[in-house]
């Protein structure tokens, strides 16, 4: 066991504690960035002037009418930028654009004494546009070959040989929509100029260091002139990893130019229309199976909808390609990746970071092909699991595949899956208009940033003379419980009660050069750094103690008077990982997080409405640092995943009408998140036991992202339920999200389907007959059996 993962007997890690800010949360005393506005005098409020066009040249901006509006103080335009007019890390995101690239793109910002004044001022700004052709949908971009960034390829073996040797080859298309983060707190920044020209920005950001860098380069300052603080966020989910920088820069620019604090907080509609979302994906695939249903080869092209700029689209795509395998061994693989450039918001990080999209491809393939192979989908998934010694398509050996098997078997047992599937079959036989489905799906998710350099973290630990401890670390708190875990790590390492330790807000002047709080890795990274700092202090204290066993306070006091340094900066970097991004191979992940979910759903055949009756989850978090926090992450991630897959329905105006390119679901009334009613009637979540992870902080594993993908079980259960409306062996194509409407049309197709599955190695018939009603919402998704096509005499 490594020293990092070794856990003392009386550890504070491992205790089930509420969130460290819970008492502040429930009383409304917890402060978020925009709450600070009410404690800051003379604040100016910023309001954007947004483009009504998806793509247009800005030919004239006249701010004079805005300045005539009472209370308007200043209009910020490109001419005001002293540094670089760019809000991105790829230098493709002008902060004040001369060509607008999506509906909602901010041309300039108005500052007012009140938000009302700023809003009226923004309405008064005159902008002339010369509209340009716009590419709005992913399909249009693919047709026009309108791509951006690199075209990565993951390859192993000889995919053509693998397909040629397969007993059954199917091809098809899988499409999936994006997802709006809908953190309850919209983007917010509050900037002021401090003493000596120092710029202080409070921002709702997952990546304070990068916010600092962007603010500095927009202002033409060095990084040491800019401090960024994040008290906490009202949710982030990846949406505040790259997207806050420009807003922080606008606030900072306004503060520098006016000398007054500037607050920029997006309304929900602005947040939804201006900021990036989860990437929608299009995947075209050919897959081969042997006679036993084992995957032999997969060839696929994944195209993501990147929106107007690159942002994080390339690493998102890389993670998608690295997760197409999910839990399954595929000997021959050839995966192409492309990022489409569309005139929409710049799609960005979202919990899972491409992993969910990649994994959905293979789960969709297995769900659709199982009936064609005549193999139960539960069996088909299980028989394709990785076994010890096998490696992923990008070359990383899959460690601990037996843990996935353990989780799988535990879910089958605790969820009583075999008996309940028989019950489901009986129910379906008795109910012509309501059908149930029960599915089991696995998750294998790689932990670490693919980009090796990001796998480092820092911490600053102060022990004061009275024995109290203050920790700073580079991670941000967005509700995921990182601060709670860091308190537990510090208390455990120092061997002091939890009450002795306090965590201070994340600030770039305390810990520099931090990585984003992202990739589920923040506990691994910052926990390692906090532990390192604590151990440095502890080592000095041990010398002072010299075996006397002094009480903590006494020891600290004595150390101070002995002139021993009572604080330390800690550092951590993940060992043993490497990644070659040009060859798309290496060992990018420290380890894999595993999980298994079984879900039972019921579908109303009249409407397509569905509800989740029961969910059983076993998830691997290593030895949990904080079980209540981890449970919350598993449950919350699951429900968020269910939202993505079954309900959350981003719609863009793709017509040629005047609203082209507009997001039509731009508010809470048109974009629906899961509410209490979507909570499964019965929801059993267990953490995998005896799951110590060697080489990770106190034997724990990351938990932020992987549980989101447990929600595949609900989607696959819906597929099973829909199939029950049709003849035996029907292969069901399900749009994503599987909204009631999408499920209804899938059920209509199933009802109209001709039965057909493999008997004796021959494909009989084609599944998925065309529905008898037009279905504008559903893409054409029919999987195509090449054997069947051949038998039918097609080319």
């Amino acid at each position: 066991m490594s020293r990092l993962s070794e856990r003392p007997d009386d550890a504070v890690v491992g205790l089930a504690l509420p969130h460290e800010s819970a008492a502040l949360h429930v009383t409304g005393h917890a402060l978020y960035t925009d709450d600070l506005v009410h404690r800051t005098p003379h604040v100016l409020h910023a309001h954007p002037v947004c483009s009504p066009h998806p793509h247009a040249r800005v030919t004239r901006v006249d701010a004079a009418p805005a300045l005539a509006v009472p209370g308007v103080v200043r209009v910020l335009t490109a001419d005001d930028v002293p540094g670089v007019n760019d809000a991105g890390v790829k230098h493709d995101e002008p902060l004040f654009p001369d060509v607008v690239m999506f509906v909602g793109h901010a041309v300039c910002w108005v500052l007012g004494d009140t938000l009302e004044a700023a809003r009226r001022g923004a309405a008064a700004v005159e902008v002339d546009y010369e509209p340009l052709p716009a590419i709005v949908s992913l399909a249009e971009a693919i047709d026009a070959e309108h791509f951006q960034g690199g075209r990565p390829v993951v390859a192993r073996g000889d995919v053509q040989a693998g397909l040629a040797g397969a007993a059954h080859v199917f091809s098809g298309v899988t499409e999936m929509a994006g997802q709006e983060h809908f953190y309850l707190e919209t983007h917010a920044s509050l900037a002021l100029v401090d003493e000596g020209g120092q710029v202080f920005v409070q921002s709702s950001t997952q990546h304070p260091s990068e916010t600092q860098e962007i603010v500095a380069h927009v202002l033409g300052l060095d990084s040491h002139h800019v401090t960024v603080q994040c008290l906490r966020m009202g949710g982030g989910f990846g949406g505040k990893e790259m997207q806050p920088h420009g807003f922080a820069a606008v606030a900072a620019l306004g503060a520098v130019l006016t000398g007054r604090p500037v607050r920029l907080r997006l309304s929900r509609t602005h947040d939804m229309t201006m900021t990036g979302k989860r990437h929608g994906f299009h995947a075209q695939w050919r897959v081969g199976f042997d006679d036993d249903g084992r995957l032999t080869a997969l060839e696929a092209t994944l195209t993501s909808d990147g929106g107007w700029s690159l942002d994080l689209s390339e690493p998102v795509l890389a993670r998608a390609l690295c997760h197409v395998d999910n839990a399954y061994w595929i000997p021959h693989v050839l995966l192409h990746g492309r990022v489409a450039r569309t005139h929409k918001t710049s799609q960005t990080a979202f919990r899972g970071f491409g992993g969910p999209q990649g994994m959905l491809v293979v789960e969709d393939i297995l769900g659709r092909c199982a009936p064609l192979l005549g193999i139960d989908a539960v069996d088909l998934r299980r028989r394709n699991f990785y076994v010890d010694g096998q490696a992923t398509p990008y070359g990383q050996v899959v460690r601990h595949p037996e843990r996935l098997v353990a989780a799988w078997e535990q879910v089958l047992a605790s969820g009583d899956v075999v008996r309940r599937r028989a019950e489901v079959a009986a129910f379906n036989a008795a109910h012509p208009h309501r059908k149930r489905g029960l599915a089991v799906t696995p998750v294998k998710f790689g932990i670490s940033f693919n980009f090796t350099a990001f796998n480092q973290a820092g911490a600053l630990v102060h022990v004061y003379k009275d024995g109290s401890v203050l920790i700073n670390h580079g991670g941000t708190e967005m509700g995921q419980g990182l601060h709670t875990k860091m308190l537990q790590v510090a208390a455990t390492t120092l061997g002091v009660p939890l009450a002795k330790v306090r965590v201070a807000p994340t600030r770039t002047d305390k810990v520099p050069n931090t990585s984003a709080t992202a990739a589920s890795s923040s506990t691994d990274l910052n926990g390692g750094a906090v532990k390192d700092a604590c151990e440095q202090v502890l080592a000095r204290l041990r010398e002072v103690d010299a075996g006397r066993g002094l009480a903590w306070e006494e020891l600290v006091r004595e150390a101070y008077f002995s002139r021993v340094q009572l604080w330390a900066a800690g550092f951590y970097r993940t060992e043993g990982i490497h990644w070659d991004s040009t060859r798309m191979s290496g060992h990018p992940f420290k380890y894999f997080a595993y999980g298994v979910a079984a879900a039972e759903v019921e579908v109303d055949g009249f409407t397509g409405a569905h509800r989740t009756r029961r969910v059983d989850v076993v998830h691997d978090v290593g030895d949990s640092l904080s079980p209540l926090v981890d449970l919350g992450q598993v449950e919350g991630g699951f429900v968020q995943g269910v939202g993505w897959l079954t309900m959350e329905d981003l719609r863009w105006d793709e017509t040629d009408g005047p609203g082209r390119g507009r997001l039509t679901t731009q508010s809470a009334s048109t974009y629906k998140l899961p509410s209490l009613g979507e909570l499964p009637d019965e929801f059993n979540v267990a953490l995998l036991e005896r799951a110590h992870e060697d080489g990770a902080v106190y034997g724990s594993k990351a938990v932020g992202e992987p549980p989101l993908m447990l929600a595949f079980a609900v989607r696959e259960a819906l597929r099973e339920a829909v199939a029950a409306f049709g003849p035996d062996g029907v292969s069901v194509e399900l749009a994503s999200p599987a909204t009631p409407e999408a499920v209804f049309w899938a059920a209509e197709r199933a009802r109209a389907a001709v039965p057909g599955h493999l008997r004796g190695g021959v494909v009989e018939g084609l599944p998925g007959a065309v529905p008898d009603r037009p279905d504008p919402a559903a893409p054409a998704l029919h999987p195509r059996s090449e054997q069947a096509a051949h038998a039918a005499g097609e080319a």
Binding site: P18, H19, A22, A23, H25, V26, T27, G28, H29, Y32, D35, H38, R39, E116, H181, F182, Y183, L184, E185, R232, G234, S267, R268, A430, H431, P432, H433, M478, G479, Q480, D604, F606, A609, L628, V629, G632, E635, G636, V639, Q640, T664, S667, A668, T670, K672, P674, S675, L676, G677, E678, L679, F683, T739, P740, E741, F744, W745, R773, P776, A777
Partner: protein, 464 residues
């Protein structure tokens, strides 16, 4: 007239000088009470929920509403409690303690709103302590993006009852604050109907608000501003309810008040309430406001159409009665004249014997319908003698499905009749494609509404 003021967490706070468009949320946050949050500014997320003391019999009830929708001036004379007023980090309220211990907060942004919605249910008179005593619908209007709701649900179910000396429980024993008339620049709360009508005559462009659940959205999201606002939600003439003969419902009663007062008196309406928005909205929205806003989708209008309801419209020249079926004239247009108010809704009796309400939406609760179908039948000796069907979401206005009604009336109530009528119903209205649903789906849902009803209630096999 004294200067307007509102009592917040026990402290009087002046309202004078507050702009008409400033909502309660921004007003509270301006006081430094930043617990209530803006999540959506349209009453969909509940992060801004606060409790208001509302009349309830001889006493009052802590009633949660969305602070983002209500003009601050509308709270003149009233009492508000926010999450900060429930407890402090050192002395948590039982609801807060339960939420915190259960892991019911992650990012914490939605949490103060949940605490207020839960506290209101906690104080509901007659609520039993224990798992089944807490009505989970109470938190249907609060969104959480982090937890997945399980710990919040469990915290709610674990709640006991208020302690004997709980001040907020005790407060419910005495009457709600008396309604005060308000008259400031741009905003008036008239004392009675006559004054209201006079004000409307004086200010023909005035915006009439009750719960402000619609106007608040216009003001917040679309930046609409009113030259003058007249609040009618406390007018005594608009708050009556009688069930002796025809059911007459005062237009300014909130949907929650109507729900409580009617109970199961009108079964069709009892089916509508749980599916109609959220409690936070139903506590503010009034029945008159819901009809006057003339949304083509509204859930109540189809039900009232099926019940053959009429509206009593009041103006300076007296009352007139208009059939609801004749009330809507176009998209968001009605026969209401300038200076005219809906005074009451009348539902004729006897009530139809068989009714159903079918709502199709992306989400089960607190969503806007893609399609709403309300059907009311009188079946005598196996024959449909009278059929009324109201539709929402399939035309520019709520609509009577007259062709379908004709296809039912005089026919035996059999599966064959249902099938034939369903084919007619599928062709009613002029549904469109939008972000909620395709036109094809809407038509399909019309077609399936009666089939599903038949199957659920009359099919032998299914009723096992």
């Amino acid at each position: 007239m004294p200067d307007p003021q509102v009592t917040v967490n026990g402290q009087p706070r002046p309202l004078a000088g507050t702009p008409t468009h400033t909502n309660v949320l921004d007003f509270l946050r301006g006081l430094g009470l930043t617990g209530a949050k803006e999540g959506c500014a349209e009453g969909e997320c509940g992060a801004c929920a606060v409790m208001i003391a509302r009349p309830d019999g001889a006493g009052c009830r802590w009633t949660p509403v969305n602070a983002c929708l209500v003009p601050a001036l509308a709270l003149d004379g009233q009492e508000v409690v926010t999450a900060e007023g429930l407890g402090t980090p050192e002395r948590l309220h039982p609801v807060q303690a339960g939420l915190a211990a259960a892991g019911g907060s992650q990012c914490g942004y939605c949490t103060p709103g949940f605490a207020c919605s839960m506290a209101a249910e906690y104080y509901r008179p007659g609520r039993e302590a224990g798992p089944e005593g807490f009505d989970l619908h109470a938190i249907a209007g609060n969104l959480c993006r982090c937890t997945g709701y399980r710990p919040i649900r469990d915290a709610a179910r674990a709640l006991g009852g208020p302690a004997s000396a709980d001040p907020l429980a005790e407060r419910q024993g005495s009457p709600a604050p008396a309604v005060v008339a308000t008259r400031v620049d741009g905003f008036a709360r008239p004392a009675d109907l006559a004054e209201a009508l006079a004000l409307l005559a004086e200010h023909p462009d005035a915006v009439v608000v009750a719960g402000s659940t619609d106007w608040g959205v216009e003001a917040n999201l679309r930046g609409r501003r009113a030259s003058y606002v007249v609040a009618v939600d406390r007018l005594p003439e608009l708050r009556g309810l009688s069930t002796g003969g025809p059911v007459e419902i005062g237009a300014a009663l909130t949907l929650s008040e109507v729900e409580a007062a009617l109970g199961d008196t009108v079964p069709l309406l009892a089916d509508v309430w749980p599916l109609f928005a959220s409690p936070l909205i139903r506590n503010g929205a009034t029945i008159g406001g819901n009809l006057a806003t003339a949304s083509p989708i509204g859930d109540l209008a189809p039900a009232l159409l099926a019940l053959d309801a009429t509206l009593v419209l009041a103006s300076a020249s007296g009352d007139r009665e208009v059939a609801l079926a004749d009330f809507f004239t176009g998209y968001r247009e009605t026969v209401l004249r300038a200076g005219e108010l809906i005074r009451a809704v009348r539902v004729p009796t006897p009530l139809p014997t068989r009714t159903t309400f079918r709502k199709i939406a992306k989400r089960r609760y607190d969503d806007i319908s893609s399609v709403a179908v309300a059907a009311a039948l009188d079946v005598v000796d196996g024959t449909v003698v009278r059929a009324r069907i109201g539709l929402g979401g399939v035309a520019a206005t709520p609509l009577r499905a007259r062709a379908t009604e004709a296809a039912l009336e005089g026919r035996p109530w059999t599966q064959e009749t249902v099938e034939a009528a369903s084919r007619v119903l599928a062709g009613e209205g002029t549904p469109i494609d939008d972000q909620r649903a395709s036109a094809a789906y809407r038509s399909a849902m019309l077609g399936n509404a009666l089939r599903a009803w038949w199957f659920e209630e009359w099919d032998e096999e299914q009723s096992r």
